[in-house]
């Protein structure tokens, strides 16, 4: 029995996938497209007459606070990219140019910052690097000056750069590793070397990788709500949107105007990255890889390299260290270290914050499950069927990347507050399930990409073999495709889980009661009271542990899956 390409809209062989596609499309439309559209509509609507108008945007740009916020967001994102690059560049250089013994340290550096969500470490960073924080107290005492690490926007830039530089490091390293060695050798044989060689050959070839990493960092910093909020920096776009909606109310047009601007800017940044990369996918026009020629380091170079790497490591670990100190410290005020140490905060967390932990596990678990189910389904529909318009599903799911968490939250509030959950007396916007859905939607692009990658590892001929032996499509999917994808699916699940567990931007908009709150919200609430910083930090450490565990498990699964696939002879 052979499988014909789908013929006819509702042909029998197509019905299953088609119905699935429609269901998924409905889900995405209802929980992504509609809320975002609603936000856009309100922004362009005259609040009293309901007619189309640009007056809200005019008001936005006429108000100096908003103009300042817009500029600040842009400034902070750009400078964060610059600082992150400054951190990542020497590290990428050491690993790609030299046989450097500290490469393992650098690889760890690529992961450690990502396991602590920036807002969690922000408060602790204040204590270490604030104007009267540990570092400055020491500097002032011994050297007579201070460095405004955490003043205003600097604090946001500092925290974000340390957190996001791995994106640049990883992308840049990969790009450098992919350079065909003969690119460099041919330039050498033509008389070029050193800086000239770097400038004319290595740099342009690694540019696409760098731009990919840099654009990710830019968007993430631009959209982030948690960090500025916890650092008390409010003259930026995301916090302003949050504040307008939460203090003035969901009828205030400014929150929506800001949301629109956030989304447009995110899309713009993605478009710029796309342009920069278009036609420059150098990986495919280069035949071999091999990376750059590596040489050994001279002792002086080794010393400098290690010094730089260890310094960066110290800075990168500082939020973790500070958070740890805060979680164990009794009182930490105007001193280099806490006065004394205690386990009290952890006791409090485990005895009274059990709800936060329970909610987090539940929400993140459900969200991750939804993500891999939908991700796998979309992956299969887009890449293995010929259903018309299937690419739209892919784009729709990926478009969630351009929607900041705060915007999604605002959209949900607006769209769903008038609907009640069936059988209960609660508006849907206040029901905890909506948090799960927000988390799922936000993580879906990543999970889906993981599923697509996993699917592409499974050669089509494996499916065809199954079908030629008489199995129907559904059976083939169940018995052949999905089991072979499990490694990738599991990895996608774990990553979704770990990142959903510490999401704050959308959560903070949608949480209506502490009983329903997950860890991220719990941390935020704890940090609002004098006696709560200790337990808040303890909860933060817990969150870090969850994410670290998740990342580790995910990496192991991917490793195992790669080993398994490496043995299978048939690769695409």
């Amino acid at each position: 029995m052979t499988v014909k390409a789908s013929s006819g809209f509702l042909s029998r062989s197509n019905f299953g996938p088609k119905a699935l596609a429609i269901l998924i499309a409905l889900f995405l439309i209802m929980f992504l497209a509609v809320p975002v559209a609603k936000v856009f509509i309100v922004a362009f609507q005259d609040p009293s007459t309901g007619s189309f108008t640009l007056i809200n945007f005019v008001d936005f740009f006429k108000t100096s606070l908003f103009r300042e916020s817009f500029w600040n967001s842009f400034y902070v994102s750009s400078v964060s990219v610059v600082v992150a690059s400054i951190i990542a560049l020497p590290l990428a250089y050491f690993t790609s140019r030299f046989n450097f013994g500290g490469t393992v340290i650098i690889q760890t550096l690529g992961i450690v910052p990502l396991i602590m969500p920036p807002f969690v470490g922000a408060v602790a960073m204040q204590l270490l690097f604030g104007s009267n924080g540990s570092v400055n107290l020491l500097l002032d005492e011994h050297l007579g000056f201070t460095i405004p690490f955490m003043e205003g926007l600097n604090g946001v830039i500092f925290v974000q750069s340390i957190h996001y530089f791995p994106f640049i490091l990883i992308n840049l390293s990969a790009a450098l590793a992919n350079i065909d060695r003969s690119m460099e050798e041919s330039a050498l044989s033509l008389g070029s070397n050193g800086m000239r060689l770097f400038r004319r050959i290595v740099f342009p070839l690694s540019m696409p990788g760098y731009v990919a990493g840099a654009s990710i960092v830019f968007i993430k910093v631009f959209d982030d709500l948690g960090t500025p909020l916890l650092l008390n920096v409010n003259n930026m776009l995301a916090p302003q949107a949050y504040l307008r909606i939460s203090s003035v109310g969901i009828s205030d047009p400014m929150g929506y105007v800001i949301s629109v601007i956030l989304v447009i800017f995110s899309l713009f940044a993605m478009w710029v990255a796309f342009l920069a990369l278009r036609g420059k996918d150098y990986a495919t026009t280069q035949k071999g890889g091999g990376g750059l020629m590596k040489r050994d380091m001279k002792p002086a170079e080794k010393f400098i390299a290690y010094a730089i790497v260890l310094f960066i490591l110290a800075v990168v670990l500082s939020p973790h260290l500070a958070l740890g100190l805060l979680s164990f410290g009794t009182i930490w005020s105007y001193s280099v270290l806490p006065d004394a140490y205690t386990l009290e905060h952890y006791v409090e967390v485990f005895s009274s914050a059990g709800d936060f932990i329970k909610n987090t596990l539940l929400y993140a678990g459900m969200a991750a499950t939804i993500d891999v189910v939908i991700g796998t389904a979309i992956a299969y529909i887009v890449w293995r069927t010929k259903i018309k318009g299937r690419k739209i599903l892919d784009y729709l799911a990926m478009s969630a990347l351009a929607v900041p968490g705060v915007v999604l939250g605002i959209g949900y509030l607006r769209t769903f507050y008038q609907f009640d959950v069936p059988f209960k007396d609660i508006p849907l916007a206040n029901y905890w399930l909506i948090i799960v859905i927000a988390l799922a939607i936000r993580r879906l692009p990543y999970a889906m990409r993981a599923c697509v990658a996993a699917l592409q590892q499974v050669s089509v001929s494996l499916e065809e073999a199954s079908e030629s032996l008489g199995a129907r499509k559904m059976t083939t999917v169940k018995r052949i495709v999905i089991p072979l994808m499990t490694g990738g699916i599991l990895a996608g699940f774990v990553t979704s889980f770990a990142t959903a567990a510490v999401e704050l931007s959308a959560t903070i908009m949608l949480v209506s009661s502490e009983a329903d709150a997950p860890i991220a919200y719990g941390i935020y609430v704890f940090m609002q009271s004098a006696a709560g910083r200790g337990p808040g930090a303890a909860l933060g450490i817990l969150a870090v542990v969850i994410v670290a565990l998740g990342t580790y498990v995910s990496n192991r699964i991917i490793q195992k899956a790669n080993q398994k696939n490496a043995m299978s002879p048939d690769q695409h």
Partner: protein
């Protein structure tokens, strides 16, 4: 390997589905003996009361929805059609006034009798009976002892102290637009010293600001962590921080007022009876005593409770200096609420840098003047000070209902393009203020160059 993974997925799915079902079933059961409270109080306070109340009333379960005062008001307004909130529990009485005006509260007669009518100069309860005061708070100055010791600053005692040059860049405060309690502080200052003098002092203090925090908690937080040394705060922030062990202290300046923290039953509350029980609990001696908890530290409205208070705990019923100086006019405050918020933000919050620089220039000039008296320079400095203190509108305008109405963020009439006008006015003010601060700085620098 694939087989194992499949098993893992199966197990995971079962666990997730199972716990979802469990959660759903659990939440369905939580319907009886419920009480929903929207409050702006921090968990330090709500936790204590929740535990104690639930212990005393085992059948009732409290659900606390924590929201900032303004957010809480908005929330109740927006969900009024399908209201499921029983109580609104917050500090600022003007928030209650707003809800009262919108007919979103209902009257309640408490069974607890014998509590005084006034604390300090302020009535404890709403005369119309819609909301009750259960604790009082005053405003004052909080400082970090290690900080002032290290920076060799004298401990402040009065508002006027904070205008001194020695405190430049060491003071923190929240903005009235972002904190109901801060709004009360500012309004108290304005009513106590008068519109012009009040703003003048406010700006002189603001010239010493290191920062204007986003929320009222940002101030004690900043003082506690040593970010800045001195904060203008509501008393329980200072007292509870001290009670939690931070190296901080607190003082009431003479010109302060005491304002009650309130609670009221929301109109169409689903659990009216339970709501009443909670209010009664707050006012009973047991409930009042909870206020003495070191993490809470609010002033009980029951004079008898003070007998159990620790040494040094302020007692407004015994110490008449606390909170008696200013007679607070609630109506005045209500009418120009948003206008004052805007004015503060435009003149101070958004232009803090300019204000600070101008103030520093003046302070430096005055320090030089003290060493080398010079009439001309003194005149310039006085002019500079006047420029900073200048206001874009007189008090009369602030009380003009129509003008103040521009600043209402909610549009009442379809024909009002309110936001547009508000933005316009704010832009005017902004220009006014920027010019004046710049000129003041110029004059002060000129004065200094003459010395």
């Amino acid at each position: 390997m694939a087989f194992q993974n499949k098993e893992v997925i199966k197990k995971l799915t079962t666990v997730v589905i199972g716990s979802t079902a469990l959660m759903l079933s659990l939440s369905v059961n939580a319907a009886d003996g419920q009480l929903t409270i929207v409050t702006s109080f921090p968990s330090d306070l709500t936790k204590v009361f929740k535990k104690a109340f639930e212990k005393d009333n085992p059948g009732i379960k409290l659900e606390i929805l924590k929201k900032k005062t303004t957010a809480g008001v908005k929330y109740i307004q927006e969900t009024s059609a399908k209201n499921r909130t029983d109580l609104f529990w917050a500090s600022a009485p003007d928030a209650f006034e707003v809800l009262k005006d919108d007919s979103l509260l209902q009257k309640y007669e408490s069974s607890v009798k014998g509590l005084p009518d006034k604390v300090g100069a302020f009535p404890v309860n709403d005369p119309d009976g819609y909301y009750k005061g259960f604790a009082a708070a005053g405003y004052g100055i909080m400082w970090n002892e290690r900080y002032i010791k290290a920076k060799k600053l004298p401990a402040p005692a009065q508002w006027a102290d904070l205008t001194k040059a020695v405190y430049h860049n060491h003071v923190g405060m929240s903005a009235p637009s972002r904190s109901g309690t801060t709004h009360l502080t500012v309004e108290t200052l304005l009513q106590g010293k008068g519109w012009d003098e009040g703003w003048k002092m406010q700006k002189e203090i603001a010239g010493n600001f290191k920062t204007v925090t986003e929320r009222s908690f940002g101030v004690p937080d900043g003082v506690n962590s040593g970010n800045f040394g001195i904060g203008i705060v509501i008393d329980f922030f200072g007292l509870s921080s001290k009670g939690s062990g931070f190296p901080v202290d607190f003082v009431y300046p003479t010109a302060t007022t005491l304002v009650p923290a309130n609670i009221a039953i929301v109109a169409n509350a689903p659990n009216k009876e339970n709501a009443g029980k909670f209010i009664d609990y707050l006012l009973e001696p047991n409930g009042q005593e909870l206020l003495l908890d070191p993490k809470i530290r609010r002033l009980p409205v029951n004079p008898a409770t003070y007998a159990k208070a620790p040494e040094g705990f302020p007692n407004p019923f015994k110490d008449s200096s606390i909170g008696a100086a200013v007679k607070f006019d609630l109506t005045k405050s209500k009418n120009r609420y948003n206008l004052v918020n805007s004015l503060f933000d435009v003149m101070i919050t958004y232009r803090l840098d300019d204000l600070r620089k101008a103030t520093k220039a003046i302070q430096d000039a005055e320090a030089a003047l003290a060493k080398k008296p010079n009439d001309d320079a003194a005149k310039l400095i006085a002019e500079a000070r006047a420029l900073i203190a200048k206001l874009p509108i007189a008090e009369a305008k602030s009380l003009d209902k129509e003008f103040a109405g521009i600043f209402k963020k909610k549009r009442k009439k379809a024909t009002d393009k309110v936001t547009g006008r508000q933005a316009e006015v704010e832009q005017e003010w902004d220009k006014f203020v920027v010019e004046n601060y710049a000129k003041a700085k110029e004059l002060a620098e000129k004065a200094q160059s003459m010395l």
